[in-house]
């Protein structure tokens, strides 16, 4: 269980609000995950050097 402090919005709680925000929200969430994925692939060659 994750105990989050008061006034800590919680990372997952922020993202889920995009997901529940209808089509436009889902598009934002999809974009966020896409960017995370792209960032991971971009970072990998640098890490291997």
């Amino acid at each position: 269980m994750i105990h989050l402090a008061y006034l800590d919005a919680g990372s997952g709680s922020l993202i889920v609000q995009a997901v529940v925000g209808g089509v436009a929200g889902a598009a934002v969430a999809a974009k966020l995950y896409w960017r995370r994925l792209v960032d991971r692939f971009r970072r990998q060659p640098t890490d291997q050097r």
């Binding site: 709680s13 922020l14 609000q17 929200g25």
Partner: protein, 476 residues
């Protein structure tokens, strides 16, 4: 609770947001603001939405006060001090019925939606942001308003789920009373605590898949990510203020769909089944009205075991405010809905089991004051109650009388009904206990106990001859 030599008492429930702090000075409720919070307050006070909400009674009335009225807690003096309207009796969400929590939720969401349209948001989403004026909820946490930062979702969403939405889902979808859950955890119910109860087809109930399961899973997957990183990612991905408003409207729509109307319990039908004759009832009502109106107009009346609120309503005709306490959440909910439809703002119904009242909770057990710490009434009504405690719950009779005296302000009065051991209701309760268990449950013993703690000013034996009413001035 500590009081400084100047008579300033910091509110024990107000420390989690260091930007502001609530203090009590005599009867006044004051809030110190740091420089940033003071700046937010000035923008808020000048906004179009805030004064409208205050004049509609949806947000507690607030005005500027001299900054010297409360001492600094960190060495830096407060940049501003606010004076708030006093709430007649502070209650906690675990003392509210389902309908009360639901209406409080809808008010919180309405306030947030209105604020968003004017460029403000609330930094938290706690059920504790709300209090009551009778059967009307009021938003009290002025320090929670702050200007919205574009591209950020509602920071209070998680807290709103834990302290408001999950308790409502628990009761609406599973028929489980939320009060014991909220009472046990000051921060509310965690998603992971509730998820195991919503398996199978229950996942498909309104709000469960998204706000509970998906939310819980997202929390786990993103536990390592900082909120500032995630906010930046959401902003870059195009999260907008309109999206936040749409999410709030969605939650509002969901909360409106949540309903819980339990079938009648033993107590919901109690007034009809409790065995009073019409003559008893008339005599009892006259006695209660006379006893409440006997001295100066009471500021606060506590009606213990209020049931359908018949006597709370009579008392409200002669007192400033009545707190009607009842243990059965279904009965309180019925009473609340009736009072709400009457627009009643001077009777507050609360769920409290008097043999197990709300204890102190949160930090050091004082952040959320226990029922006994808050209850100090000018008149205490204990009608058809003593036998339930003394026989039903085995509380020794002297303790019951001590407890009633403890709930009464100095010089205040107790209006108490003693049900004789040969009354049909007492006989029914006694029949469930081993014989001879309560030899001291007698009228003369009871009178002696009351007289040892106060002065009996009036007494009336009801026409049926098995119940006696007393008015006693305690400590007098």
């Amino acid at each position: 609770m500590t009081t400084s030599p100047t008579g300033v008492r910091p509110e024990p429930a107000s420390f989690r947001d260091p930007a502001n702090r609530v203090f009590h000075v005599g009867d006044e409720v004051l809030r110190g603001l740091n420089a940033q919070a003071a700046e937010h307050w000035r923008t808020l006070a000048a906004s179009p939405f805030f004064p409208t909400l205050v004049s509609a009674g949806k947000v507690c009335a607030t005005e500027d006060a001299p900054p010297t009225m409360v001492p600094a807690t960190t060495g830096t003096p407060w940049a501003a001090v606010l004076r708030h309207e006093r709430i007649p009796f502070v209650s906690h969400p675990y003392e509210w019925s389902f309908g009360m929590l639901r209406d409080a939720a809808l008010l919180h969401l309405e306030i947030l939606r209105t604020a968003l349209a004017d460029g403000f948001t609330t930094k938290d989403g706690s059920a504790y942001n709300l209090q009551w004026r009778g059967a009307k909820p009021v938003f009290i946490d002025i320090g929670s308003f702050e200007p919205i930062r574009d591209g950020e979702p509602w920071a209070g969403y998680r807290q709103f789920c834990q302290t408001v939405l999950y308790p409502l889902l628990l009761t609406a979808h599973l028929g489980v009373d939320f009060q014991p859950w909220l009472r046990a955890q000051v921060d509310g119910i965690e998603a992971d605590q509730l998820r195991p109860l919503f398996g199978g087809t229950r996942r498909l109930r309104p709000g469960v898949l998204t706000h509970l399961h998906l939310h819980g899973a997202m929390q786990q997957r993103n536990a390592a990510a900082s909120t500032s990183d995630v906010k930046a990612q959401l902003r870059a991905a195009g999260y907008s203020r309109d999206l936040q408003a749409a999410t709030v409207r969605g939650i509002e729509k969901l909360v409106r769909r949540l309903e819980h109307r339990p079938s009648g319990s033993h107590w919901t039908d109690y007034q009809r089944t409790c065995g009073y004759s019409a003559r008893d009832r008339v005599a009892k009502e006259q006695f209660v009205v006379g006893a409440v109106a006997a001295a100066a107009r009471p500021r606060l009346v506590l009606d213990l075991g209020a049931n359908d609120g018949r006597y709370a309503r009579l008392a409200a005709g002669h007192a400033d405010y009545v707190v009607a306490v009842e243990q059965d959440p279904a009965v309180v909910d019925e009473l609340y809905r009736a009072l709400r439809s009457e627009g009643q703002q001077r009777i507050l119904p609360l769920v409290v089991d008097l043999a197990d009242p709300s204890p102190g909770g949160g930090w050091r057990g004082v952040e959320r004051a226990g029922f006994a710490q808050r209850a100090s009434a000018d008149v205490v009504l204990a009608l058809a109650l003593v036998h339930h405690l003394a026989i039903g719950r085995n509380v020794p009779l002297p303790e019951v009388v001590d407890w009633l005296a403890g709930l009464t302000a100095p010089g205040g009065a107790v209006v108490v009904e003693f049900v004789h051991p040969d009354d049909p209701m007492a006989t029914r309760l006694l029949a469930n206990k081993p014989e001879g268990l309560f030899p001291d449950y007698r009228r003369d013993t009871f009178e002696r106990l009351v007289e040892a703690r106060g002065r009996i000013t009036d007494r009336l034996e009801l026409p049926s001859g098995t119940r006696t009413l007393y008015r006693a001035v305690m400590g007098g």
